[in-house]
């Protein structure tokens, strides 16, 4: 089943944020990108819990950068989307597109 899984709502948002940020994607930038785009305060715990789940599924990969003084000597953990992750985003998009096709969502529900 894992090869045909769709992304959950927050997983989808996180993967899209990673794709936007490219090689600058780590906890702070991912959180800020989501807040900037969807105007909702997101907790860093929620971001990491989702990223860890995505990593377990093989949709993202992470590596540690160098420790920096502004982080109290702690390193950044950078994330990037794998080919499997890109395929999952595409699959989820296609599913959503086919479900919304023909629906006039804004006009009929506003």
């Amino acid at each position: 089943m894992s090869g045909r899984d769709y992304l959950g709502e927050f997983e989808h948002i996180i993967v899209l944020a990673l794709l936007r940020l490219e090689d600058r994607a780590y906890g702070v930038t991912v959180r800020q990108e989501i807040e900037f785009r969807i105007k909702r305060e997101v907790s860093i715990g929620a971001v990491y819990a989702t990223l860890d789940r995505l990593e377990t599924k093989g949709y993202v990969k992470s590596h540690h950068g160098d420790p920096t003084p502004e982080r109290g000597g702690r390193s950044k953990r950078f994330f990037r989307v794998t080919a499997k992750g890109v395929a999952a985003v595409n699959r989820t998009h296609r599913a959503l597109q086919s479900m919304t096709e023909g629906l006039e969502l804004i006009r009929s529900h506003s």
Binding site: G27, Q32, E41, H64, R71, G72, R77
Partner: protein, 215 residues
């Protein structure tokens, strides 16, 4: 040039709380990210806003980590909680039994030291109850490896919920208000001591993890 914000540290209690719930493998990243954003906020919006943001993040992160911690290992966490509940039921009666046995054995001594007897029968019982509850919390935390706080807090919440139900269903209706409230406080002190036990084990494990190996 260094600004005032460079010297500002996030709220220590908030950092401590995040540390309790955070998985060991993500601790460095999460605490580093929080500190980085806190420093930026303190420079741009002021220390008060930054502290308030840190506390909001702490609360949300703890709630989230609590939920994901439980969902990650529901069966082992439930087993630790149920085991802790059963162990707690067994050991809670121990102080009474010990007191009766000691009273019977040293009846002469107690009759000459009635104040001491009264201390053991009231405050002593309470202290013993708290110590045993804390030990139960430690056992639960030891069993729930990596999810010490999730397991002990779940047990504490379940026990407090049971106390709350008993309070509203029976005690508050039939007992005088002051007696009912002190009963509830006494009953809730046990679950709180269990959580303290979880904190002790968690802190001990965190300290061991951060110690340099190869000694």
């Amino acid at each position: 040039m260094t600004s005032q914000a460079d010297f500002v540290q996030p709220p220590r209690i908030a950092v401590w709380l995040v540390n309790l719930f955070i998985p060991a493998e993500t601790a460095e990243s999460i605490l580093g990210d929080l500190l980085e954003e806190f420093s930026h906020l303190a420079s741009n919006s002021g220390v008060v806003d930054a502290r308030s943001w840190y506390w909001r993040q702490t609360a949300k992160t703890i709630v989230h980590l609590f939920g994901t911690g439980f969902r990650a290992a529901p069966w082992s966490t439930t087993a630790a909680v149920v085991g802790g509940y059963l162990l707690g039921s067994v050991v809670n009666g121990l102080p009474d039994k010990v007191l009766s046995a000691v009273t019977d054995r040293y009846l002469g001594y107690w009759s000459n030291h009635f104040q001491a007897y009264m201390f053991w029968a009231t405050d002593g019982m309470w202290i013993a109850h708290l110590i045993l509850s804390m030990l139960v919390g430690c056992m639960v935390a030891l069993a729930a490896k990596g999810r010490e706080m999730v397991a002990t807090m779940t047990l504490g919440i379940v026990l407090c919920a049971m106390v709350g139900v008993a309070y509203f269903a029976w005690v508050a209706k039939h007992w005088p208000m002051n007696l009912a409230l002190s009963w509830m406080l006494f009953q809730c002190a046990g679950p709180f001591a269990m959580i303290v036990g979880g904190v002790v084990v968690r802190r001990h494990r965190s300290a061991k993890r951060t110690q340099p190996s190869g000694a």
